[in-house]
């Protein structure tokens, strides 16, 4: 995969194993340096909207994708999704929900809140790698976000 675009990806994932496997895949795909990550909901919000020391996050303008797990410590994924999609500074950023929840009400609620895609984490590692790689390629390389 070539790194044609310049956008960054924010991966919000609390499970350290899933995170390591995802970063491994991104490393193999050569985009690891474009992936930031947050380990819980509060950290994700800080990165998106800044915290006490940085009123607005410097890099959020260059964020081309947020990949969001739903079950997160502190602030859950749906709340982060709601905040992203209801804030003028961030609502243009594509959000892909990547979760193990197959519950129909989760799918419906995420799309209602403005999710751009909903992907169920496959158990098989080959498929998981394929999903992570495909998301990176599609949203960071092929997708053309508004500026």
């Amino acid at each position: 995969m070539t790194t044609g675009g310049t956008g960054q990806m924010l991966l919000v994932e609390d499970n350290p194993h899933d995170l390591e496997l995802a970063m491994r895949t991104f490393g193999k795909a050569g985009v690891a340096e474009r992936v930031q990550f947050a380990r819980d909901g509060a950290e994700a919000l800080d990165r998106l909207f800044g915290d006490a020391t940085r009123p607005v996050h410097a890099e959020s303008d260059n964020l081309g994708l947020v990949v969001l797990d739903l079950h997160l410590p502190k602030v859950d994924g749906q709340e982060i999704l709601r905040r992203i999609k209801s804030d003028a500074r961030t609502k243009h950023i594509p959000v892909v929900v990547l979760t193990s929840s197959r519950e129909l009400k989760d799918v419906a609620e995420c799309y209602r809140l403005g999710a751009n895609s909903y992907v169920i984490k496959p158990v098989s590692s080959e498929e998981y790698a394929l999903v992570v790689r495909t998301l990176g390629v599609y949203w960071l390389q092929f997708n053309h976000p508004p500026k």
């Binding site: 499970n15 194993h17 496997l21 979760t99 193990s100 929840s101 197959r102 158990v123 098989s124 998981y128």
Partner: protein, 388 residues
């Protein structure tokens, strides 16, 4: 002549007096009677009135009805009563009164106003019947109903709580149990990719076993969740074209299987009434089993048909596959029950449990007949109320 007439009229008067006396005697036997003057002062009460109110005649005469007032009815009630009889109209209603000892009694009451020549009420005659028992029974029914309603509310709340708990449980199963499996599979793969060349062949095989087991558990979780979801969703019944349903399922299963020799005989299937999506799953599971367990035959035969049995249609799927020993037939429809080795026939053992659950929810019945190596026949009916 005149005398005779006078005698006649005397006789007639006697006759009518007797009649009135008889009527009054009968009325007194039956009813509580009181007469009041235009101001509401009691001018007459019969024995029954005294008995039920526990007041003597002397205590009642000259009083108004406030002496037996129970304070049960609002002021407007009596205002409306007086307005009605004051206008010369009959009033009917049920009144709760209070006896001398403080106990309450109910009377079904009819008050008839009698007017003078100028049209003003001259007196009111009130005829009453004791309905205390009926009122008590009504009150009991009301209390029982309220208690029943309360219990239904409580039970419903308990059921809803149990349902929510179950949902939260399956939610957490689907999320939390999958994560370790991804790690087992993912890191096994990472070892194979990163250190594969340094591993002896047996080490590589053992890592593959870990991966296969993790993936199999993922499928078990999926199937179990699917099974538990079945009980939660409501049935959406409609008319279902069984023949068309079976044809699309066969197509989805890959019929006509170019790489195998499979002979499918699809008989005429009657329409039925049921939940189309669930019945689709029934056919899908039965037919995919027939395809699966007949795959070691040089020429597999799958027969799909229906026959009439009294009021019910019996649908069946028959194959000439590996069959099973009828001694284990009772295990067939249990969750995670399998009658074959996983290395011979893949599967999680949930398919027939799902079939049975769907059929039972439709009020029907499902059963199997088979013999080892002689094929199997699965038959089912849909409930009388649901079936065609």
């Amino acid at each position: 002549m005149t005398k005779l007439t006078s005698l006649d009229s005397h006789a007639a008067l006697d006759e009518s007096t007797r009649e009135i006396r008889d009527l009054k005697a009968a009325l007194d036997e039956h009813a509580i009677v009181a007469i009041t003057d235009p101001q509401g002062k009691i001018s007459y009460v019969n024995d029954k009135f005294c008995a039920i109110s526990q007041y003597s005649r002397d205590e009642l005469l000259g009083q108004d009805h406030r002496v037996v007032n129970s304070a049960h009815h609002p002021k407007e009630f009596f205002r409306a009563l007086w307005a009605t009889i004051g206008r010369g109209r009959v009033w009917k209603g049920e009144i709760q009164n209070r006896a001398k000892d403080g106990t309450f009694y109910w009377v079904d009451t009819t008050i008839v106003p009698f007017l003078d020549e100028s049209g003003k009420p001259r007196q009111y005659v009130a005829i009453r019947a004791d309905i205390t028992e009926r009122k008590r029974a009504e009150e009991q029914v009301r209390e029982l109903n309220a208690a029943l309603e309360q219990r239904v509310l409580e039970r419903t709340a308990q059921l809803e709580a149990a349902n929510r708990e179950l949902e939260a449980f399956s939610y957490s199963v689907s999320h939390d149990l999958r994560a370790p499996l991804r790690a087992m599979d993912g890191f096994s793969l990472a070892v194979l990719e990163d250190f594969g060349p340094q591993l002896p062949g047996e080490g590589q095989r053992q890592l593959q076993v870990i991966r296969q087991a993790a993936q199999r558990m993922g499928r078990l979780i999926d199937d179990l969740l699917g099974f538990s979801r079945l009980g939660r969703q409501p049935l959406r019944t409609q008319a279902v074209d069984s023949g068309a349903l079976v044809r699309t399922v066969l197509e989805e299963l890959g019929a006509p299987w170019p790489d195998r020799q499979v002979e499918v005989r699809l008989g005429k299937l009657p329409a039925c009434v049921g939940d189309a999506a669930l019945l689709r799953q029934v056919w899908m599971n039965l037919l995919s089993n027939a395809v699966k367990y007949s795959r070691k035959r040089y020429c597999a035969r799958i027969e799909i048909g229906a026959r009439r049995d009294g009021a019910a249609d019996i649908f069946f799927v028959r194959d000439n596959g590996t069959g099973f020993d009828m001694r284990f037939a009772d295990k067939l429809f249990g969750v995670f029950q399998r009658l074959h080795r996983v290395e011979d026939y893949e599967g999680t053992g949930v398919g027939l449990a799902i079939v049975q659950r769907i059929i039972l929810r439709h009020g029907g019945r499902v059963w199997a007949e088979a013999a080892p190596d002689q094929g199997a026949t699965f038959s089912f009916t849909l409930g009388e109320g649901v079936g065609a």
